[in-house]
Symmetry: C2
């Protein structure tokens, strides 16, 4: 979902409290209203916004009571640095994601669920997921602990990378005089995503195409970028 | 800084636009006001809030004009899942962080800056950072590209872990009947962070201590947890 819409939703303390509550257990409106000390009308209003965004869903139980719960996995990441303000939100990645093909990151984790899936791939027990006895509770508790530690290390790794990115942009910027250094750093960063024409790059860095074209010529004298037909790329 | 305060700040579209602008270049109030189409008074108000939170800082240039810029590196992560609503915010990690000591994550990256620091550690050029010629622009551009790709892989890894965590909590929950499965999964997760007394755990999972104590006895029959003095831990 759209990061801006998500930040607008999460910018409200009561909506955050509702999400925290629903992450513990599915709740009905009166429960939420009493827990938060907020009128049922206001709770209904918050729930509607969360439901419209797909963050929350509801189902009616046997006693015809309507329970709300969190609908799905979602992650939001916000980066703030002297060179960057960016937001990224995404649903969780597929369990079948090939994590061994990554170039820079290796994860050393023996995930019980995964192991089983691989072993069962070709035999009749492929649907073993549905059978809770296929994995013992101690195994699952072990997985849980590993995954939580992995998550903490990944988060630390992200913060380390953020620091290195800023440092690298500072150094690039220091190669040039005055305010322009920042602009050159921006251009190099714009090309880090792949080759681009001056027009495409001018949209990435939000500067006029002729200014970008001049700057690219200047950078090519430093052997940082080169032209290939209409496109420019990092050397 | 506090995640809640940060989400409150970022929940405003104009403040997000100001941050996006300042990440491109330092600006003064009139510039921001014209760019955003918002009154200078409103811009000043937003800037004050961002400054109070330490996200933005200002300096006065030779022409006595006050420029605003982003003050530092900061990351915010928000996790939303049927079992979790959590927010984490942190400043960027130290460049000296020992990333080789991690248990689950390995980063395969040859960072030019790092390499130099190690080589220079014991000689007189330790302050080579201040000399922009110590690293060529093509080297720095190469670093930048690697770091951006690393960042994307880490982000993907986080989303993969989020999916696995939810799946594991689903499986734990399926071992128990009805609504309680969720509570047991919560308890196991609460202990994933380390041993705890029933009182400490009762705060972690927000349930009465006697309910937690009963549930722990039940879990110990499944060989998932064990008691060690006053504390309980995962087996």
């Amino acid at each position: 979902m759209d990061s801006a819409a998500l930040l607008d939703l999460l910018g409200n303390e009561n909506r955050r409290r509702i999400l925290r509550l629903l992450a513990r257990k599915p709740c009905y409106v009166t429960e939420i209203s009493e827990y938060l000390g907020v009128s049922p009308k206001a709770v209904i209003d918050h729930l509607r916004k969360l439901e419209d965004a797909g963050l929350v869903e509801s189902h009616v139980d046997d006693g015809r009571r309507k329970y709300f719960s969190i609908a799905r996995n979602l992650r939001l990441e916000v980066n703030v640095s002297p060179y960057d303000f960016s937001t990224k939100s995404a649903y969780s990645a597929s369990p079948n994601l090939d994590i061994t093909s990554w170039r820079y990151v290796s994860l050393d984790i023996k995930h019980t669920g995964e192991e089983d899936e691989e072993a069962d791939e070709t035999d009749a027990e492929a649907e073993s997921d549905a059978d809770p006895d296929s994995e013992t509770l101690p195994d699952l508790a072990h997985d849980l602990r590993e995954l939580e530690r992995l998550e903490n290390e990944l988060s630390m790794a992200q913060r380390w990378v953020q620091g290195r990115l800023t440092e690298t942009l500072d150094r690039i910027s220091a190669h040039f005089e005055g305010v322009d250094g920042r602009f050159y750093a921006e251009l190099i960063r714009g090309l880090a995503g792949g080759p681009a024409t001056p027009e495409q790059l001018s949209r990435r860095v939000e500067a006029p195409p002729d200014v970008v074209a001049d700057a690219l010529e200047g950078l090519s004298a430093h052997d940082v970028v080169k032209r290939d037909g209409d496109e420019w790329q990092l050397v």
